[in-house]
């Protein structure tokens, strides 16, 4: 029973990472109907920036905030410089562009920071007071930080003008223009925010999975599963999907399929959701125009 609880709570912690990634994916999907295959690489690169800042002596939380700022700008830049030019192209072209981005960012990281794995510090001390038998301080920290970030994002969208404008631009670009909203800049902001979410996920995950250019490939897989499960166009569903996937990963890994097939389970979830309920748990059904 103890072991089960441990797996469950650990799963919630892991799920926090997937929740952030899933929300980033959903934000971009909602606005553009594209899946950002390069989301993981953006997050990884931002984490490397954090690493550079920290190893240069900058205190962790200052480096954290600076990295968030960087990741925002990075996301906006990617949208403005690359994605913007492909906004009218087919799904196939978009996918290829995203893969291209994935590979460019991955190789940039490899070039600038080498391919050797590095350790990444956790700001949550190993023996801190808020650790419990079931959750390490870092895991508690992961959950708290993620919840704070998610809360800020939701409050932003719900209560600010800019948030409303961004929601409008995602929902109906044409009508948004008719009220004077610069839709393409709203998209850029969305990318910036997705960059921030990814950076948070990366920095929270890195202490456990170690910093390397390919560190996010597993995480992004679970991120996809979580986004699809929650409903690829539903921002509320994404974090829920994330936590479910996190818990499922742990429980299934510990009791059902073993740790070596956890990723295969994610694949199965993806295929199952897409085949049986493409709109996920909370999304709206996708209609294909004839």
């Amino acid at each position: 029973m103890q072991a089960l609880l441990h797996q469950l709570l650990s799963g919630v912690a892991g799920g926090a990472i997937y929740a952030s990634v899933a929300l980033a994916l959903v934000m971009i999907f909602k606005a553009t109907h594209h899946v950002n295959f390069a989301q993981g690489e953006l997050a990884m690169f931002s984490t490397y920036i954090a690493y550079s800042l920290i190893t240069a002596g900058i205190p962790y939380w200052i480096a954290f905030v600076l990295t968030l700022m960087f990741s925002f700008v990075f996301g906006v830049a990617v949208q403005r410089l690359v994605i913007h030019w492909f906004r009218d192209r087919s799904a196939l072209a978009a996918v290829i562009v995203f893969i291209g981005l994935l590979v460019i960012i991955n190789s940039m990281a490899g070039f600038l920071f080498t391919y050797t794995q590095k350790g990444f510090p956790s700001p949550f001390a190993g023996q801190a007071w808020y650790g419990t038998t079931y959750l390490s301080p870092h895991e508690v920290g992961m959950i708290v930080v993620t919840l704070i970030v998610l809360a800020i994002v939701f409050l932003f969208f719900r209560f600010t003008r800019l948030g409303l404008a961004m929601r409008a631009a995602a929902e109906n670009p044409q009508s948004s223009r008719l009220v004077g909203i610069r839709v393409s800049w709203m998209l850029a902001l969305g990318w910036g925010m997705a960059g921030v979410l990814g950076a948070v996920a990366g920095m929270m995950a890195a202490p456990n999975i170690f910093l390397a250019p390919d560190m996010m490939s597993g995480v992004i897989l679970y991120g996809f599963a979580a986004a699809l499960l929650g409903g690829i166009d539903n921002p509320w569903g994404a974090p829920i999907g994330g936590f479910i996937v996190g818990i499922m990963e742990n429980i299934a890994g510990a009791y059902l399929v073993g740790t070596q097939l956890k990723q295969a389970l994610a694949l199965a979830v993806i295929v199952a959701v897409l085949t049986f309920k493409p709109s996920g748990l909370f999304g709206r059904t996708v209609v294909v125009r004839v």
Partner: protein
């Protein structure tokens, strides 16, 4: 005195097919103008050309004396043109209140709350449904919402694309009554595209008749209505 909105020799095309040919049109400050014509005559295209929505145009379009052809839709809107498009363009997933707030999203003045109240005065049902998702409103209510949202922009010129479409006659009369009041009280110029010619003729001060992309007649409503061929073709008499 230059008109508020002027179109000079405007051609418009979607891709390879040209829809408008040399359209000349004027809306005076404070005026109400109707653009009539059969299906496919190019009425909607004209409105879309003014706002540069997916149409390629040649020729001049001036608003307040300044050229606006070729500029981005959102920039044209910011100059003071509100467009109630074909299909209404409601933000279906957002609430009525959010739809209205979006109309005012570019405004930083303090009159927004007052305008909301005024809008509720014209369309009380919107206040009742304030927190409902816009997609759950009936067709007529969505039409009112679309007009209200455009009003929240506080535009100098309001473009309306078939505001009567699919609505019960009583509702249409009420809406048109409101439009007349708005035009008088707020000095808002209007360009109205309508298939329902009779109602439009009662409302406006000038009429243009469009046929296969060309303006074939223009003048006062009385003149247009008196024309035999027009009456037969468009007024079903």
């Amino acid at each position: 005195m230059t008109a508020l909105l002027e179109l000079h020799g405007v051609d418009a095309s979607y891709g390879p097919g040209q829809v408008l040919h040399g359209v000349n049109l004027e809306v005076d400050e404070g005026g109400m103008v109707a653009l009539l014509g059969a299906n496919g005559a190019g009425k909607t295209t004209t409105l879309r050309a003014i706002c540069n929505m997916g149409v390629r145009t040649r020729g001049e379009i001036r608003f307040g004396g300044k050229r606006i052809d070729g500029r981005a839709t959102e920039d044209i809107v910011r100059l003071g043109i509100g467009h109630v498009p074909e299909g209404r363009g409601t933000f279906l997933g957002l609430t009525v209140e959010e739809n209205l707030r979006l109309g005012a999203i570019r405004r930083s003045d303090s009159g927004i709350a007052g305008d909301m109240t005024r809008v509720f005065g014209y369309f009380p049902v919107l206040r009742e449904r304030l927190h409902q998702q816009a997609g759950t409103l009936s067709g007529g209510e969505q039409q009112m919402l679309a007009i209200a949202r455009a009003l929240m922009i506080k535009p100098r010129l309001l473009l309306l694309d078939e505001p009567s479409f699919g609505l019960a006659p009583l509702l249409v009369q009420e809406i048109f009554r409101n439009l007349k009041v708005i035009n008088k009280e707020e000095r808002m110029s209007m360009l109205l595209v309508e298939q329902n010619a009779r109602l439009a003729l009662e409302l406006v001060g000038k009429v243009y008749l469009l046929e296969t992309g060309r303006v074939v007649a223009s003048g006062l409503p009385k003149q247009i209505a008196a024309d035999e061929s027009v009456r037969r073709a468009y007024l079903g008499q």
